[in-house]
């Protein structure tokens, strides 16, 4: 038995894969903890998982500071290249700086055999290094490690932010240490990630998909009563009301009363009335739903894209910010879908793009190729195997010394 600890940022897309990996490690008899700023994660941990909450001996100011990080990323509308600056300067660096002392304290308390830190929780790698603990890295947004050949300075700028933080906490090396030399798990397949030379510590595990334990209610009868093509439209949660309204107005114009069934993830109260061929719910059981669908329209979040491709479905991607433009680029490059520009697209573009991916079988065939590459990569079990291997190798090293 070994003791594993995941260090996660308060971002759902980054937490979910660790819940699956952790569940498998727990089933195999290990102890598993999660270091997080978000106390509410306790309710979502797999059975036996231990919440290690980052909290400080509170004066109230620090407490307030902790809370502001939980949803900071949803507080500002950012777009395109600008969003990277916001992400690092206003979210990731302050979040990591704030978390560092708490992580150190919890590592002392839990004494893990292996730390698994998210690639955006640089403080995790820094803390593990300073404590002399072995760590692996989980890359949940693979675009972040991909250097755009045409714009190399963008990645360099990102890495300089990380190096600056490392130096602040006494790790005086000129390169980022966030991707572990022992094991850096890239949660996709090489086929979807694309060509880039990586050292052997980088391992493609395929997507690690988390199946939520709770069932979400859904109008299955309405979905099944029609023989029309069925699509899901899910655009994430990081928008304000006006943006949502403008986006879904275009969706209604594109698909209202067409021969298509549109499942829309949205607050139903956004409009007084939705077209009759729409199923609108705030939450949908996405993983259960995907096998019944023909295509997906999404904003290019890595998890939704991977879940869609795991079902061999073509898609239309409308990226908004962060790495989404890159993910959308990969979808287009692999032939599994089309992309639209979020700020510019009009209803008829959306309609045409969806009809294109539905009617031209090449898109679905390409999606099936990626699906196959995901299956071959292995997913959750592969990730758990790799983590066990590193942990046992590390404990042998300790015995030898």
């Amino acid at each position: 038995m070994a003791k594993f600890v995941f260090i996660v940022p308060p971002l759902t897309g980054h937490i979910n894969p660790t819940l699956s990996m952790g569940a498998v490690l727990l089933e195999r008899g290990h102890r598993v903890g999660w270091i997080t700023l978000d106390e509410s994660l306790a309710a979502r941990l797999p059975e036996g998982g231990e919440l290690l909450h980052i909290s400080y001996d509170e004066n109230d100011e620090q407490k307030r500071e902790s809370e502001q990080y939980l949803d900071i990323i949803t507080k500002k509308i950012v777009y395109g290249i600008d969003s990277l600056k916001f992400l690092y300067e206003e979210v990731l660096i302050p979040l990591n700086r704030h978390s560092y002392d708490g992580i150190i304290h919890l590592l002392d308390q839990f004494e893990p055999d292996l730390v698994i830190t998210d690639h955006q929780m640089f403080a995790g790698a820094i803390a593990a290094t300073n404590k002399g603990l072995p760590y692996a890295t989980s890359v949940t947004a693979p675009a972040a490690i991909k250097v755009m050949e045409e714009l190399p300075k963008v990645h360099e700028w990102e890495m300089n932010q990380v190096i600056g933080l490392q130096q602040e906490f006494g790790v005086d090396v000129p390169t980022p240490i966030v991707c572990s030399d022992l094991l850096t798990m890239v949660l996709t397949s090489q086929a979807f990630f694309g060509d880039m030379e990586l050292t052997p510590n980088f391992r493609f595990t395929g997507p690690v998909i988390n199946r939520p334990a709770t069932k979400t209610a859904f109008d299955w009868d309405k979905l099944k009563e029609s023989n029309n093509p069925k699509i899901l439209i899910s655009i994430g949660t990081t928008f304000d009301h006006e943006h949502k309204k403008s986006f879904f107005s275009k969706v209604i114009e594109a698909f209202g009363n067409e021969d298509i069934t549109a499942v829309v993830v949205s607050d139903p109260d956004l409009f007084e009335q939705w077209p009759a061929n729409f199923i609108v719910q705030r939450h949908v059981p996405q993983l259960d739903l995907l096998p019944h669908l023909d295509a997906v329209v999404c904003h290019g979040g890595h998890n939704t894209v991977c879940e869609t491709l795991s079902n061999g479905l073509p898609m239309v991607v409308i990226p908004i910010a962060y790495d989404q433009s890159h993910v959308a680029g990969r979808v287009v490059r692999t032939g599994a879908g089309e992309r639209l520009n979020f700020n510019r697209f009009k209803a008829h573009h959306l309609k045409e793009a969806v009809n294109t991916v539905l009617n031209n079988p090449a898109y679905k065939e390409s999606a099936e190729v990626i699906k196959q590459s995901f299956l071959e990569a292995g997913g959750t079990a592969t990730a758990a195997d790799l983590l066990e291997q590193v942990a046992s190798k590390q404990s042998l090293e300790v015995l030898k010394n």
């Binding site: 777009y79 395109g80 290249i81 600008d82 990277l84 600056k85 755009m148 050949e149 045409e150 714009l151 190399p152 300075k153 963008v154 360099e156 700028w157 990226p319 433009s325 890159h326 959308a328 680029g329 992309r339 520009n341 700020n343 510019r344 009009k346």
Partner: protein, 99 residues
Amino acid sequence: MDTVASTGKLNKEEIFDLMKQFITEVIGEEFVEEMDITTESSFTKDLEMDSIEIVSFSEKIKAHFGDQIDFTGWLSSMDLDQLINLNLGMIINYIYECQ
């Protein structure tokens, strides 16, 4: 079309028109009609181009001018702030100087 030009040196106005044509090809004619594209137009804020679109714009310049202008090299030397502030006038000047 995207062919290597054999004509002589372009003046700034001609370069502006050419850039406008490339932008149109990248983002689509109907959007360009709604925009007031000037030398002050920034790629991220005004033209709302994301990184993938900027790269595809630069490929068009490369296809047109060939080895005459190392546009991708110039672009790849830009850091994040320079990219965010990049406007059409800067590109026109660069191409004009390089000819």
